[in-house]
Structure formats: C-alpha cells, structure tokens
C-alpha cells in the first residue's frame, strides 16, 4: 500500500466531513497563524529598534548639563547649563577615548522658504556632528569649521524639511530660507535617515553652525553650551572607558568634591537601544509562547476528533481488515489523516498569520519581518502536533479486533 493511495483515502475521509475537518484544523490554523503573526511583528519591532540604534550611531555618548533645582522642583537634565565651551575643547584634546565631540544645541523654530513655512527642529552644531552620527550628504556640502568660526548664516536641511519647504520640484541648494527673521543660505541636504524607535523623525531638522545658533537663534550665556555634547567614542578603547574618562575629566574641571553628585550626565544611547530591543524581544517571545499554547490546544482538538472518527468508523476498519488491511495500513491511514489536517491547518495558518501581520503592520505603521526559519518551524511543529496527537487514535484503530470491529454498530 503506497503513500499516494493512503493520502487519497485520508483526503477523501476528510472531504466527507468538510465542516468538521475545517473546524478541527481551525485550532491549528489559529495557533500557527498567531505564532507567525506575533513573531513577524516582534521581529519587525526588534529590527526597527536595531535600525534606529544603528542610525543614531553605535558608539555615541551624549553629555548633558546638570539639572537646576529651585525650591525643591528639579528641572530635569540639561535645565541648568553647566557644560562650557572649554569643557568641549578639553574633551576633544585631552581624552584619547573620545574620537570626536560636537556641541548640539536644539530648539524649535519656524523656517520659511519663498512659498512655504515649516516649524522644525533647529540644531546648532559643528562638522563633527555628522561624522559622529555616521550621516552623509545627499546634495551640496556640509557645515565646515570655517562656517563655525565665522558664524556663517548657512544651513543644511533634512529631507523632511526639504519636502515641506520646497516640495519635489525645486532644488533647495543655494536658495534662501529664513529661520525666525534671519536669512540663511541652504548649502546642503542630508541623506534620508528615517525614524527613531520612539517615532522621532531624524530628517525633520535644520543644521546650522553652533556659533550662529548661539548668537542669532537662542542667545545664551557666553561661556556655557546651551545644549548637549555628542561624543563619538574611540571604538578600540570602548564606550565604557570613554564614559569613565569623560566623567572623571568633567568632575575634575567642575571641581566636584569626592562623594558629591555629578552636575552633568552622560547617556549611553547604544545601551538604551539594546535594552529596548531586548524588551521588545521578551514581549514577542511571551506572545509567541501564548500562541504556541493555542497550537497545543489545536493538537488536542485533532486527537479528540480522530478518536471520534475511529469510533465512528470502527465498522469500516473491520471491513478493511477483513479484506486484507494490515494493522500498519490502518495506522498509516489514520495517522496520515491527522497529519493532513495539521499540515494543511499549518499552511493555512502561516498564510493567515502573514496576512494578519501585514494588515497590523500597515494599520499601525509597524514593521514586519518574515523569518523563513520561523515559518519552517511553525510548519514543522504543526506536522509534529499532527503526528503526536494522531498517533494514539491511529494506534487504537490499528489494534482493533476485526471481529469486534465488524460487529460494531
């Protein structure tokens, strides 16, 4: 008795009870579908976190001023400027673990072109900023040190800003934009960078020299930096080392006594990103295991129906045995039936899961990532469920006494 023939018998038996077969397979369909959907979306979320953390720069530290406190209300990181331009120079020159350092002063302001206006983030910085963030130019030139030295009124635009001020048609290079009331010349356009994990659009920014920012946009205390310092770490020496060096240097420069708290903070973005990725991973594992439980429940459903089927078809089994079916033929017949249910259910589940993941991803703007190994595993598991839960009913069928089976009403 060959496999093809066994398959035919199995499919015919399943086809006879179409509704019942479908309902039985539904457990597997839902289980597999849920696993696939959860894993695809989970992997997508993880990939997005990883992407955004790569976009931020993998060896990036952010040094922030300390917090002000007046009457017990603490102002939050950076509310009280403590970092000075001298600190920046010291970071650049004294620490071998610091490869690059760039001041980053930020504020929201309306930007106007000839036709449009757009309120966006203005970033005052130095040329190192782009290198630290591993961010290239799409067109034109970047800020230069001489722009910074001369407080030039030049601007580099992010892609989102270009879209909103100039649309697709006109070339922004060389054009004038006004930030507040001050005219700037557009000298460059950044490459598209995308979104952060929390949904911040990196491309919605305008970059101008830090000196220009401090003198024209947000005049502040001369010797203090009214923002953060982005630090590009020397990768050989490592982030940990750089963090320790920066802390020691700034404590020394700010004359902070041993035991007293820092008046600045250093954030390790890579660490935050990987913690976030881990959190997303944990959540998706949790969801996938809940889904896997429903796969198990689906398997029990198959066993239940196969047992019913064996009982219902006892007489048929008797007839088959009387005309020469061996126990293993009967075993194969019922096993293949269970397997067909679970594998077809698994296939339908995979398709359903992918469709569901795509719908959800489209609806909520998530990313989905199909991993073929997970799809193969889900199919394998559903086949395994079919074998495991089909084996007992099939074995029971094969061990029936033909005389009893023939007498069965």
């Amino acid at each position: 008795m060959n496999l093809l023939f066994t398959l035919r018998i199995a499919f015919r038996a399943l086809w006879r009870n179409k509704l019942r077969s479908f309902l039985t397979a539904l457990g597997i369909i839902v289980g597999t579908g849920a696993v696939i959907a959860m894993v695809s979306i989970g992997e997508g979320a993880k990939a997005r976190v990883e992407q955004s953390f790569a976009a931020m720069g993998t060896d990036l530290l952010v040094v922030m001023s300390g917090s002000s406190s007046s009457g017990g209300a603490r102002g939050g990181g950076g509310s009280q400027p403590t970092l000075t331009w001298d600190d920046l120079r010291a970071l650049r020159s004294e620490l071998p673990s610091v490869r690059l350092a760039a001041p980053t002063l930020r504020g929201m302001a309306p930007v106007m072109s000839e036709e449009q206006n757009w309120t966006t983030q203005i970033v005052g910085t130095t040329p190192e900023h782009f290198e630290i963030r591993n961010w290239g130019m799409a067109a034109g030139v970047s800020l230069t040190q001489s722009d910074v030295d001369s407080s030039a009124k030049v601007a580099v635009l992010g892609q989102t800003v270009v879209q909103n001020l100039f649309g697709d048609q006109s070339d922004p290079l060389g054009q004038r934009v006004r930030i507040g009331n001050i005219p700037f010349q557009v000298i460059g356009v950044m490459e598209k960078k995308g979104q952060s994990a929390s949904g911040t659009d990196y491309d919605d920014s305008v970059f101008i020299p830090a000196s220009t920012y401090q003198s024209k946009i947000a005049p502040g205390p001369g010797k203090f930096i009214g923002g953060q310092i982005f630090v590009g770490v020397d990768t050989v020496r490592g982030t940990e080392r750089a963090l320790a060096d920066i802390t020691a240097l700034l404590r020394d420069r700010h004359r902070i006594a041993t035991g007293a708290p820092d008046d600045f903070s250093v954030r390790n973005l890579a660490e935050m990103a990987s913690a976030q990725a881990e959190g997303v991973g944990t959540l998706s594992t949790l969801l996938a295991s809940v889904a896997a439980v429903s796969l198990l429940v689906g398997g029990i459903g198959i066993m239940n129906i196969m047992l019913v089927s064996v009982t219902e078809r006892t007489r048929e089994i008797g007839v088959r045995m009387a005309v020469g079916a061996r126990p293993r033929d009967i075993l194969a017949q019922f096993l293949v039936e269970a397997l067909a249910l679970s594998v077809l259910g698994g296939l339908a589940g995979v398709l359903l899961g992918l469709a569901a993941a795509e719908r959800l991803a489209a609806q909520f703007g998530w990313l989905m990532l199909v991993r073929s190994d997970i799809v193969a595993m889900a199919l394998g598991v559903s086949a395994g469920v079919g074998v495991i839960f089909g084996l007992y009913p099939a074995h029971r069928a094969s061990q029936l006494d033909p005389i009893e089976a023939l007498r069965h009403e």
Partner: protein, 236 residues
C-alpha cells in the same frame, strides 16, 4: 490432493469476565476444493466462531487449522491479513460496504491492499461487477442500491481477489426469500466455477441449497451430511 480446509481438534475459549466460555470444543473436519458447505446451528452453537476462525479473523486456542495445506494458527497478524487478502473472500449479513463510496471503489478495496496498480484494479473490479450482474450500477453508492444489489457488490468484493474460498456469514439474513434464492443461485455459479463456498445460516431451506450441511451444537459438530456427491473432478 490435500483438502482445502483441515481442522484438527480445534478449540476456542473466551474469557468473558470470570467465566470461561468454550465456543469450540474440539472440532475436526475437512472441506475439499469446490465444495458448497452450509454450517447450521442455533445462536451460541459456535458456528460464528468457527466461521471467524476459518476466515483467519480469529485464532484457535488449541488445535490445528490448515488452509490449503498451510498451518495457520502460528501466523502473525500481517501474514493473516495477507491470507485474508489473497486466499479468502468474506460476505456478511449486513453487507458491510463502505458508505458514500461507489460500488466500483468498494470492490476495488481488496486490490488496493494487495498493491494492484490503479488501471488493473479498475478493470478487474468492473469485470467482477459485470459478472454478478451489476454492470449498470458501477458508480452507485450503497444507499442507492437495494439489499440484493448491495449483497451482490459484497460478493463481487469477495471475488475480486480471485480467492479459492468464500466465507459467507448469514448472507441471506437481511434479504427477502426471492432475493435469497437468487443469491444462492449466484453462489452455486461460483461453486461451479471451482470456488469453495462455506456459508453460515440458520434457515434450513437456505442450507438445503448447499451440497453439504454441517450442524453445530455447543461447540461441536452434531451432524455432517452430504446431500450431493463431491464434484466429479474430485472423485476422479
């Protein structure tokens, strides 16, 4: 030439709860090739057990059963299945056709398990159905056939593997007397074609159609009567 069936002191005991039931108490008989035998007896006489044993569905507790010169008692389940498939054909009181399956496919069933290729299967099943007079009803399902027609399908299924022995358990039990006689005529044709037929019945007029009547009581053979002489070729 050895007998087709040889039973020697065959016993079969069942454990039914605490009680041991002796269904067969030392049956010895032999059936030659080409015989038409009816086994009679009241319920509990052991005739069904005898039939199941002859059909290799049941194994004797003690004693010898030689089918076509081959000792059957010691065979494995798979070997017994093979014997049922190739050497035996069953006909049941309640027909036992697979429902929602056409006459043709029902008849093909033994050939499926014998591993006969599809085209040959179909041709042989069709030929046998024509032989039992159902050439017009190949694709009917059992529910679309009368009792007599269903039993003809069952006989075709028993015949399709070209067995030497057909065992029929109350084949006319669910049929009216006219159809019963037609069925017996069909069995007679098979016997004339060289097939051995053994049937169980409790109706004397049905048994009278056979050549030899064995009456069972309490697990033993009560009487064994030859109505007709053995076919000429046996005597020769």
């Amino acid at each position: 030439m050895p007998a087709l069936i040889e039973l020697e002191n065959l016993t079969r005991t069942y454990a039914a709860g605490d009680v041991t039931v002796q269904a067969l108490r030392g049956v010895t008989l032999s059936i030659e090739v080409g015989e038409f035998v009816a086994i009679m007896g009241t319920s509990g006489s052991g005739k069904s057990t005898l039939m199941n044993t002859l059909g290799c569905l049941d194994r004797p507790t003690r004693g010898c059963y030689r089918l076509d010169g081959r000792e059957v008692s010691g065979l494995s389940q798979d070997e017994l299945a093979g014997l049922r498939n190739r050497s035996l054909g069953f006909v049941f009181q309640s027909f036992n056709l697979l429902s929602r399956t056409s006459a043709l496919e029902n008849v093909e069933l033994p050939l499926l398990y014998a591993g006969v290729p599809a085209a040959e299967r179909r041709a042989r099943a069709q030929a046998v159905l024509v032989r039992v007079g159902l050439g017009e009803r190949l694709h009917h399902h059992p529910s679309q056939l009368s009792g007599g027609q269903q039993q003809r399908v069952a006989i075709a299924r028993a015949l399709v593997g070209e067995p030497r022995l057909i065992l029929a358990d109350e084949p006319t039990g669910n049929l009216d007397s006219q159809t019963s006689l037609e069925m017996m005529a069909l069995f007679r044709e098979l016997v004339q074609g060289g097939i051995t037929v053994v049937l169980v019945t409790h109706e004397a007029d049905i048994a009278a159609e056979a050549d030899r009547v064995i009456v069972m009581r309490d697990g033993s053979v009560l009487s064994d009567t030859q109505h007709q002489p053995l076919p000429a070729r046996q005597a020769a």
